[in-house]
């Protein structure tokens, strides 16, 4: 049974996700950050769908479990493409879009193959286990890709403030997810005590994106390379 805090966090997360799309439309940034907005739109639709399935069938029903795992896989794949679109924005001046696309498809295919190999032994519900495994693996791929992208931003001296804020918030999100995953495996007892941490961070990602799109002008510049300079 869900408590009031669960409902509030879920509602706020959905509200913030919709807010990203609204802010993008208002600032005429929908097409520029199309895949970020697509991810947020999917998130809103999935939340609404999960709410309906949860109300009709209950949390322990097979319908809710199937809907949850397949929709999470869809969401993570769309988040992966949102991250790749950030790569395209950062490397746009180098004219390497085709290589970014090629690498993205190759990496997604490699992750899918790895996930399939991991669940191949499981005979029952293999497709569901594959969807679950793929979504978890893509989170870790996304984490590594975000840190590589941050390194590229520092190296290329990228100065677009909006882009930097979007990438940094994504880095915090992926890091928190990986940390939660680690704690849930290493210390399950501790994980259940901090049960609201990951959902709250899940709320903060769309909030950070909405704030960045709403408040940071496209022409605003920042010097993230200075952050990496070690003063002696």
């Amino acid at each position: 049974m869900l408590g009031p805090a669960d409902w509030v966090i879920w509602f706020l997360a959905t509200l913030f996700e919709a807010l990203v799309v609204v802010c993008s439309l208002h600032r005429n940034a929908f097409r520029r950050y199309f895949f970020l907005n697509l991810y947020m739109l999917f998130s809103v639709l999935v939340s609404v769908g999960q709410f309906r399935v949860l109300i009709h069938y209950g949390r322990s029903s097979l319908e809710y479990r199937y809907f949850y795992f397949y929709s999470q896989a869809l969401l993570v794949i769309s988040l992966y493409f949102a991250l790749i679109s950030l790569y395209s924005l950062v490397f746009r001046e180098l004219k390497v879009e085709q290589y970014v696309r090629f690498g993205a498809v190759l990496l997604l295919a490699g992750t899918a193959w790895f996930s399939y190999a991991a669940v191949n032994q499981s005979s029952s519900r293999m497709v569901t286990h594959f969807a679950f495994e793929l979504s978890q693996n893509l989170y870790f791929v996304g984490l590594v890709l975000t840190y590589v992208l941050w390194g590229a931003i520092l190296k290329l001296r990228e100065t677009r403030a909006l882009l930097v804020q979007v990438v940094l918030s994504l880095g915090v999100y992926f890091s928190a997810h990986a940390a939660s995953y680690a704690i849930s495996n290493l210390r399950p007892d501790l994980f259940f005590r901090m049960g609201y941490l990951l959902p709250v961070i899940g709320c903060l990602l769309p909030l950070a994106w909405a704030y960045a799109i709403w408040r940071v002008p496209e022409e605003a510049r920042i010097e993230p390379a200075r952050l990496a300079v070690a003063h002696r």
């Binding site: 809710y64 690498g103 490699g110 679950f132 590589v148 990986a178 995953y181 899940g202």
Partner: protein
């Protein structure tokens, strides 16, 4: 050609790094923990 090979190498490195990180994280568990990304309640496992 060399650029494509570089992309292939990069993809393999990222995949290896990510799966290695996941293996380290799940070294003391079975890796079956389900996490909700967007505040959605996690269903009971199969």
């Amino acid at each position: 050609m060399s650029r494509k090979l570089t992309v292939v190498l990069f993809a393999m490195l990222v995949l290896t790094g990510a799966m290695g990180l996941k293996a380290v994280v799940t070294a003391h568990g079975n890796g079956s923990a389900a996490l909700s990304a967007n505040g959605v309640p996690i269903p009971t496992p199969f």
